[in-house]
């Protein structure tokens, strides 16, 4: 994040937050997520954003972001 980053309100994994990130990639980095980490997937407003588009995908106020990974399951 640089000081130029504007703060926007997002809903990240169901929780409202205000972050200084204008793209998905910035948001993920802000969340401490390694962009190279495997097995991650992200959706914005109900649509999956493929990894190749994370850098370019702009965020808008009110966006609902889901960041998931596989876990144990039955």
């Amino acid at each position: 994040m640089t000081e130029r980053a504007t703060m926007i309100r997002l809903r990240i994994n169901g929780v409202e937050d205000e972050v200084g990130a204008s793209t998905l990639a910035e948001l993920l980095k802000h969340q401490g997520i390694d962009l190279q980490a495997r097995f991650l997937a992200v959706a914005v407003n109900g649509a999956v954003i493929r990894r190749a588009d994370w850098l370019a995908h702009p965020l808008s106020p009110g966006d609902e972001v889901e960041i998931v990974r596989p876990l144990q399951g039955g």
Partner: protein, 256 residues
Amino acid sequence: MTDPLTIAGTTLASRLFVGTAGYPNQQMLLDCLETSGTELVTVSIRRISLEGYAESLVDLLEGRYRLLPNTAGCVTARDAILTAELAREALQTDWVKLELIGDRETLYPDVEQLVHAADQLVRSGFTVLPYCNEDPVACQKLADVGCAAVMPLGSLIGSGGGIANPAAIELVCSRSPVPVVLDAGIGTASDAALAMELGCDAVLVNTAIAKSHDPQRMAAAMRAGVEAGRLARLAGRIPKRRFAEPSSPQLGLVST
């Protein structure tokens, strides 16, 4: 034994699918999977903890097992579909075990929504294996919309209740145009064997292994149970009779 199962063009040598949840620890999970001989294991898709990212279970499973992500816990078609799409992106697989729960307490499937969600996912290129009930009409509809298999419940998820309605499972198996995978309710090895004898093509087990007193041994038991039931099905069992039939010769008895 060469008696592979084919689902959506993929051949699996083992007819035992194993869930990965609830084991005492990760090493035990890995040992159980190894012992079970399974080739297909289920995983869930969950939001990452915002506190940070830990190494995933999947790093350990990848390359050794085909992964079948589920949509466990979803109660709307929308959430289930999004979960499936996230799973596809995360795991680079178009296979999904589609769960659409109609009731949070019993975890019983909502077959009406299930058919619709399955239809949409098939149209989006998914290989859909839906968790459903032992309703032959619903199973037919799921096959009709293009599901690669159907996964009727034996009894409630995690209940260990076995196969509550064997006649219905047998009916589903006898009419299903796609493979039938018995899902939910298996409590012990004879349940798994019975499922296969009724005509199921495979069995999915999780809690019965993970929560056993000795999970790895139960994994071995399930492996043997599935094999036993499959072989018995192929061999063709004797009919049940109400009366006795001597096995030893009836003539030539010693008689004083």
